[in-house]
Amino acid sequence: MDSWGFIGLAYGIAAIALTAYIVGLRGRLRDAGQTLTALERDGGRSAR
C-alpha cells in the first residue's frame, strides 16, 4: 500500500466511525424521545 492508501484508510475509518456514532446517537435520541412523549401523553390522559 502506498502513502495515499494509508492516508485514505486512516481518514476513511475515522469518517465511518464518526458517521456511525452520529447515526446511532440520532437513533437513540429518536427512540428515547418517542418513549418520553408516549409517557407524557399517557400521564396527561390519566391526569384528566
Partner: protein, 230 residues
C-alpha cells in the same frame, strides 16, 4: 428536550466549517513532510483525536468530582456522555496511530509504553461504560461511575509523559514540550485549526449525548412517579 438546542446546532455547524478548512489545508496546502513524506498527513487527524479524547476524559473527571461532591445528576449526565465520546475519539487515535505506525515503523502494533497506555486508557473507559450499563440502580451506577471517572483519569498524564519517562518507539511530544513546539510554524497552525475543529465536534457530540441522558432521566422519573402512584 426532544430537539437539539440552537447552541448545539451552532457548535455542529462551526465544527463542520472549521474541520473543512483544517482538512482542506492539511490535504491541499501543507507540503509533504521532509522525512515521512505524504503519509505524515495522518498527523492532522491523529492529533485532533488525541486532543478531543484527553479533553473528554478531563471533562469526565471534573463532572465526576462534582457528582461525588454535590450528588448532582446533571453532572453525572455530563460525565457519562463525555466518557462515551472520549472512547469514540480514543478508538480513532488507536486506529489512525496503528495505520500511521504501519506506514512509518513497518508494524501495525508494538507493545510500546505510549501505545500500551493508550490501549489501557481505552479499556478503562470502555469498562466505565460497561459498569454504567450493567448497574441496576441508577444512583449506584452514578456513584461507581464517578469513582472510576476520577481514578481512570490517572492514565492520561501517565500516557502523556510515557514518551519522556520510557524509551519508546513513539516519537516524543513535538507540541507540548519544554522549549516550545519543534514543528514547522505553518504545520503547527494547521494542526491547531484541526484540533479546534475536532474539539468543536466533541462539543457537538457531547451536547447531543447529554440531551439523550436528560431524556432518559426524565423518562425514569416519570416511570418512578407512576410506580409510586400505581
Amino acid at each position: 428536550m426532544s430537539r437539539p438546542l440552537v447552541v448545539t446546532r451552532v457548535v455542529g455547524a462551526l465544527a463542520g466549517a472549521v474541520l473543512a478548512v483544517g482538512l482542506g489545508l492539511a490535504f491541499f496546502v501543507v507540503p509533504p513532510d521532509a522525512v515521512q513524506g505524504e503519509v505524515q498527513r495522518i498527523m492532522y487527524l491523529h492529533l485532533g483525536a488525541v486532543a478531543a479524547a484527553y479533553f473528554a476524559f478531563f471533562v469526565t473527571l471534573l463532572a465526576s468530582v462534582r457528582y461525588l461532591w454535590k450528588r448532582d445528576l446533571r453532572a453525572d449526565a455530563v460525565a457519562v456522555a463525555s466518557a462515551e465520546v472520549g472512547v469514540l475519539f480514543t478508538g480513532v487515535v488507536l486506529a489512525s496511530g496503528s495505520i500511521w505506525g504501519k506506514s512509518t515503523w513497518g508494524v501495525w502494533w508494538t507493545w510500546d509504553a505510549r501505545l500500551t497506555l493508550t490501549a489501557i486508557t481505552f479499556t478503562i473507559y470502555v469498562g466505565y461504560l460497561m459498569l454504567r450499563a450493567f448497574a441496576e440502580e441508577p444512583q449506584a451506577a452514578a456513584r461507581y461511575g464517578a469513582v472510576l471517572g476520577v481514578l481512570g483519569f490517572l492514565a492520561i498524564p501517565l500516557n502523556h509523559f510515557a514518551v519522556q519517562w520510557w524509551r519508546t518507539l513513539h516519537q516524543p511530544s513535538s507540541i507540548i514540550r519544554a522549549g516550545g513546539p519543534s514543528m514547522d510554524p505553518f504545520m503547527l497552525t494547521v494542526v491547531l485549526v484541526n484540533v479546534c475543529g475536532t474539539l468543536l465536534l466533541y462539543g457537538y457530540l457531547l451536547l447531543e449525548r447529554v440531551r439523550l441522558e436528560r431524556i432518559r432521566h426524565r423518562t425514569l422519573q416519570l416511570r418512578l412517579s407512576r410506580g409510586r402512584r400505581g
